[in-house]
């Protein structure tokens, strides 16, 4: 990236009026309050007019598929992420906010960025998040009659319950769990 991520995160945090920002792994990320979600995008939109994507993360300690988070003090919540950029400077920043699981709703960004329309429809069907003010919050990918929200951590992969994925029998134990590892990159294929 052309811009220094930590300076960028600090500057954007100043623009949207937040004091929570990070630049771990070179990804500038600024956290805002969910009440200021729309306002933050309106303010930042003048400087960062390129709308890259919007998505959500389901933070949960109990999961139906995959591995749960390593630390057990993960706060149960949905995290909404959006990614804005500036095409002249090449800057890129991720905005994030938390919403409670018992009331998963947030203001829609469709009035600020037209591109948020499909991204919000996807997040709505996959995570069950209500984007207030969205003009057409219907299913995007899934059939109309589909029930449930597949990307929630409580949603099982039914096809894998019926028939386990063949690859699972090949899973080797971690080296520190059993036996020495072979640190031979030529074997990795």
């Amino acid at each position: 990236m052309t811009a220094n991520p930590s300076e960028l995160a600090e500057r954007v945090a100043g623009v949207v009026g937040s004091d929570r920002f990070s630049s771990d792994n070179g990804t500038a990320k600024v956290r805002v309050d969910s009440d200021h979600w729309l306002e933050a995008h309106q303010t930042l939109g003048a400087e960062m007019p390129y709308f890259s994507w919007l998505s959500a993360i389901d933070w949960a300690t109990e999961v139906a598929v995959g591995d749960p988070p390593e630390s057990e003090d993960v706060e149960s919540r949905y995290e909404i992420l959006s990614c804005l950029g500036n095409v002249e400077t090449g800057e890129l920043v991720v905005l994030s906010t938390d919403i409670a699981k018992d009331d998963p709703s947030i203001a829609s960004l469709t009035d600020v960025f037209g591109g948020a329309n499909w991204h919000e429809r996807e997040a709505a069907e996959m995570m069950g998040i209500d984007f207030v003010g969205h003009p057409n919050l219907t299913h995007l990918y899934l059939p109309d009659a589909f029930e449930g929200h597949p990307l929630r951590k409580t949603f099982p992969l039914l096809s894998r319950d019926v028939k386990p994925w063949p690859g699972t029998v090949d899973v080797e134990p971690m080296p520190d769990e059993e036996g020495p590892s072979t640190e031979n990159p030529e074997d990795a294929g």
Binding site: G66, V87, G90, V112, G115, E186, G189
Partner: protein
């Protein structure tokens, strides 16, 4: 001149005795899901008034494979095989941002030779993807000849990719920390004797010359063709502000005059070592979207020529344990793929697989501008506009 004006004008010229005030009731026109002009399974529900589109609603999801969910139950090396099926016309390029993101989370330094091989194959994927567009787009407008010319040279490029990776479309060639030894070099051998096929560099140089020659052919056959110009110039204009708000990226954005190229702004591969120009258009119409891609093929061949001349020797992979966990952290890495910005947001919770993987695909955002773009256009222009956006439904639906 708007599309509607043009329509009325042409009726006037041909002296057709039809009043433009003619009342035409609203009609719903269904395009697809199975239709040659829709590039896969895309359905458009259009409300038309005569020949003019009033409203269009794309229906997608016929190719939805749920990669973001599957990724949560797979390990990082297994996900490599998934991601090159997202945009299958440029399979190799899809792997790069995912690999770079994983490597940065793990703090790995990828050997320079591996980075150069990645770069060469990415640019070959770009050439192959663009040649498909450059030849199939005229086909949709009724010109069949360019297809034969361009696909012949594309096959040459695909042969080179296949020679290295073993796969024409789904290479699955990257490994966390580098690339694997080339196909035929014996991936199970303890010692890597040969990492690129014999004469790969020489054949690449030849192939690039053929590619540039076919670009000259396409300039004569297509760009200078009056019918093609009539069908594409001033059609489907995307203004810069709309393009940015909808997240339109890649050649579609550059055709609108924005010189935004992630190869220039980010450092996911060593593009800063090479000289190349960012092709831009002026009007953002279908014609510019064609010429920008044509120029990008030539620039990509320039990059490959330079990379072949300067490829360093050395290791192919960083030292990575056969089985590994990725440290806790979040990262977003994007890359300039043939279709536009492709990125992966990885949330790692210290496991063998990601806790959450968000796939940002170029075609999804490029296609989302369609309901806005098609308003007020003529039905025959829909095909030109759809084709000019160069999307792949696998990249839209993921």
């Amino acid at each position: 001149m708007t599309a509607v004006d043009r329509h009325r004008l042409s009726m006037h010229h041909s002296e057709v005795q039809v009043s433009v005030e003619l009342q035409t009731p609203d009609m719903t026109l269904n395009l697809g899901p199975q239709h040659p002009s829709t590039h896969g399974v895309l359905r458009l529900i259009a409300r038309v008034d005569g020949e003019v589109i009033e409203e269009v609603e794309p229906v997608i999801g016929y190719m939805h494979r749920g990669y973001e969910k599957i990724a949560e139950v797979r390990t990082y090396p297994q996900i490599t095989a998934l991601v090159n099926r997202i945009d299958w016309v440029s399979g190799f390029a899809n792997e790069i941002p995912f690999m770079v993101a994983t490597e940065r989370l793990m703090g790995l330094d990828v050997p320079e030779r591996a980075q150069y091989i990645r770069l060469i194959l990415t640019e070959m994927a770009r050439i192959s993807s663009h040649l498909v567009f450059l030849s199939s787009f005229p086909l949709e407008l009724g010109a069949a000849t360019p297809l034969m010319h361009a696909l012949r040279e594309r096959e040459r490029v695909l042969d080179l990719i296949e020679g290295v990776t073993g796969g024409r479309f789904h290479p699955n060639f990257n490994r966390v920390g580098g690339v694997k030894p080339a196909a035929g070099a014996g991936s199970t051998q303890k010692k890597v004797i040969q990492d690129l096929p014999i004469e790969f560099l020489e054949q690449s140089r030849q192939a690039m010359q053929y590619v540039r020659d076919v670009c000259d052919d396409l300039k004569d056959l297509v760009v200078g063709n009056e019918i093609f110009m009539e069908r594409t110039k001033g059609i489907g204009i995307i203004p810069v502000d709309k393009a940015l708000a909808f997240g339109v990226s890649g050649p579609n954005l550059r055709a609108s005059g924005v010189p935004f190229d992630i190869r220039k702004t980010d450092d996911y591969l060593p593009y800063s070592n090479f000289e190349f120009d960012v092709a831009t258009g002026e009007n953002g119409d279908c014609f510019d979207r064609y010429t920008v891609r044509l120029e990008e093929v030539i620039q990509a061949s320039r990059i490959i020529d330079q990379a072949i001349d300067s490829i360093p020797s050395g290791e192919l992979q960083a030292k990575v344990p056969r089985i590994f966990k990725v440290p806790q952290g979040e990262i977003y890495v994007r890359a300039e793929n043939p279709k536009g910005e492709m990125g992966y947001y990885i949330v790692s919770e210290g496991g063998r697989g990601p806790y959450r993987l968000k796939i940002r695909s170029a075609s999804f955002s490029n296609l989302s501008v369609l309901p806005w773009l098609l308003q007020g256009q003529l039905v025959p222009d829909v095909i030109a506009i759809l084709g000019s956006l160069d999307f792949v439904l696998g990249d839209v639906d993921r």
